[in-house]
């Protein structure tokens, strides 16, 4: 009987099972992409007659691209808002003590753990009572608020990893706290800020549950797609979905480059 080295052992059953799980995760997406090129639309098997028609139709579809623009605007705004408040919150959690600190931390995390419908409806009620019209502005405020904790978590971790002595050195050398923040703290958080920003951007672009209840006349991309889905399936949706997939993959590659750069930086600093 051959010995098995523990962490390097081959576990054939497990490998097969893992492959099946991977297949489960990827097959629907692969199907989606393949059928975006299918002349006869979505459904049936096998797909014949490959065509770029649906993509052509997609690019001519003004409503979709308007919604993309709307989504981009909202996402950009959310990144700015969440990062700013998230940075302040992270600093507060790291350096200040105040009554209700742990309550605050949990409250900020709630929108991430609670089903989106609860946060969405709560914000809707708030908007109604504030006599605000539902629009991209309300969507933006909703996203920005809900995603604060994403920024807070990432930036808090970045602050913890930071060498405190650098700030002390800066103050010792005569810089004011504001200068220290600008010249020492922020640059150290650069990678955390970018990583958090990427994540917030992606989450905002994809957000449906909260947006569902705060949307006015102008649609974001997910809601535009959603509206069309209610009316019926067209392969045009496959096409835009494929594009979304491609962009997501590109973003995740960037995210990973940043992460490995961050860890490498930490090793070099040691």
């Amino acid at each position: 009987m051959s010995a098995t080295a523990i962490t390097k052992g081959r576990a054939p059953l497990l490998a097969v099972y893992s492959t099946l799980v991977f297949a489960f995760i990827y097959l629907p997406i692969v199907v989606l992409i393949v059928y975006s090129f299918n002349r006869d639309g979505v459904g049936g098997f096998p797909p014949r007659h490959l065509t770029l028609n649906w993509y052509r139709q997609l690019f001519a579809d003004a409503a979709i691209w308007t919604s993309v623009l709307n989504s981009l605007i909202v996402a950009a705004g959310s990144v700015a808002l969440s990062l700013t408040l998230g940075l302040l919150a992270a600093l507060a959690l790291d350096r200040a003590s105040f009554p209700g600190k742990s309550l605050f931390r949990r409250l900020v995390l709630l929108p991430l753990i609670l089903p989106g419908i609860i946060t969405g409806l709560s914000l809707l009620m708030f908007a109604v009572y504030a006599h605000a019209n539902l629009s991209l502005l309300t969507v933006f405020l909703g996203h920005g608020t809900a995603l604060i904790s994403v920024a807070t978590t990432e930036l808090f971790a970045g602050l913890q990893k930071m060498d405190r002595a650098q700030e002390e050195a800066s103050l010792d050398l005569g810089a004011t706290p504001l200068q220290t923040f600008w010249r020492v703290t922020l640059p150290n958080l650069k990678l955390s800020l970018i990583a958090a920003g990427l994540l917030i951007f992606t989450l905002s672009m994809d957000e449906i549950a909260v947006t569902f209840f705060l949307i006015g006349r102008d649609n974001t991309l997910p809601l535009e797609i959603w509206g069309r889905l209610r009316r019926g399936i067209t392969p045009e949706i496959n096409a835009i979905s494929t594009l979304i997939f491609a962009v997501s993959v590109a973003l995740i590659v960037i995210w990973f480059r940043l992460r490995t750069r961050a860890t490498r930086r930490n090793f070099e600093a040691v």
Partner: protein, 361 residues
């Protein structure tokens, strides 16, 4: 045929067969040859140490015996049966890990009982054996404690108990004392040695600390770059090192490059009687083998004495001894003498030629 011829002579009581036989063991990690065809035998009941620097292959050999690595070539045999084809959980070998590897989610008693439970030992047996093991390492009052609450030394005892309670044929210890501070280390060394005597189990100890190896071992296997440099008892390896590396790794020594000619070795202005063929040769001369003539106990009874004059360059006081660095006509030597106050200038020294050991490169 005479009667004397018919009755075969009484056999000498042959040495008992070795417990562990390592036959031409080699291990490669990619292009890296970590262990280069090593063979050695381990006797039952002995305390043997694998000594070497990091990268010498000592840890790899330990892991091969434990079963966490597979040999690239060669075999390991235990008690006449093939060992290296067995998975770790089937070998009658247990390991004390460098960082102890105590299970954090189990208390001390459950940690120690782990191996007995995993091999389905009878339940009453387990309780008594665990209690005995804990008593043996003096940790019986900590039975319900969690590892995280214990100090390094305490964790190490638990790790010992956990391994020994299974009554393995061979206990592997992977640099178990290196995480402890100096005083605790010395105390644990003594405890380990008496424990091994008491229990009678064969210990294979891995360390890079040569003092530790010398203090504890019945035999030392010195490894260098994956090959076995010398294997002998501590006294033998100290007084008769085979190579310059062995001489320098264990204890301190002076390595003298000399020319041997007609029974005399000469190195600059040093001369001493030497055996062996003519030609260039290396000699190892321990600092404590060189004596200060001015000291009261000038030993005139030493055979083959060689004397020389040297200038004292440095003096390091060590409590009971002095370590001198002296310059003998350009040849720097280290000399260790009993403490006697500050020395300076030129002094007379002497040593016995038998203490100058001829070593290989």
């Amino acid at each position: 045929m005479s009667l004397a011829q018919a009755i075969p002579p009484l056999q000498e009581a042959s040495a008992p067969p070795p417990l562990l036989e390592i036959r031409s063991l080699a291990k490669r990690f990619g292009p890296n040859e970590v262990l280069k065809v090593v063979s050695l035998n381990i006797a039952s009941g002995e305390f043997i140490t694998l000594l070497g620097e990091s990268g010498s292959g000592k840890t790899t050999m330990l892991r091969l015996i434990a079963g966490f690595e597979q040999p690239s070539s060669g075999e390991i045999w235990m008690n006449g049966e093939r060992l290296d084809t067995l998975p770790p959980y089937k070998r009658r070998v247990n390991t004390v890990f460098q960082q102890y590897a105590l299970f954090p989610h189990l208390n001390v008693r459950d940690n120690v009982a782990y191996g007995l439970r995993a091999t389905n030992a009878p339940a009453n047996d387990i309780d008594t054996r665990v209690a005995d093991a804990l008593r043996m390492v003096k940790m019986e009052t900590f039975a319900t404690a969690r590892p995280a609450t214990l100090s390094g030394g305490q964790q190490q005892r638990v790790a010992l108990a956990r391994a020994l309670v299974n009554r393995p044929l061979l206990l592997l210890l992977d640099e178990p004392l290196c995480a402890l501070d100096a005083n605790l280390r010395k105390a644990m060394q003594i405890e380990l040695k008496s424990l091994q005597r008491e229990v009678g189990i064969t210990f294979l100890f891995v360390t890079h600390d040569q003092e530790e190896a010398m203090a504890l071992s019945d035999r030392i296997a010195l490894l260098r770059n994956g090959a076995l440099e010398q294997i002998a008892s501590p006294r033998e390896i100290y007084s008769r090192p085979v190579t310059a590396y062995a001489a320098q790794f264990i204890g301190q020594t002076n390595v003298l490059r000399a020319e041997v000619h007609g029974g005399i070795a000469s190195c600059r202005s040093l001369r001493w009687a030497a055996r062996g063929p003519d030609g260039p040769a290396l000699f190892s001369l321990r600092p404590e083998a060189i004596h200060l003539v001015a000291a009261e106990s000038a030993r005139s009874d030493l055979h083959d004495q060689s004397g020389f004059t040297a200038i004292v360059k440095q003096q390091l006081y060590g409590g009971s001894s002095e370590l001198l660095e002296v310059d003998c006509d350009g040849q720097l030597l280290r000399v260790k003498i009993p403490a006697r106050g500050a020395l300076s200038g030129a002094q007379e020294f002497t040593f016995s030629a038998t203490d100058a050991v001829r070593v290989a490169e």
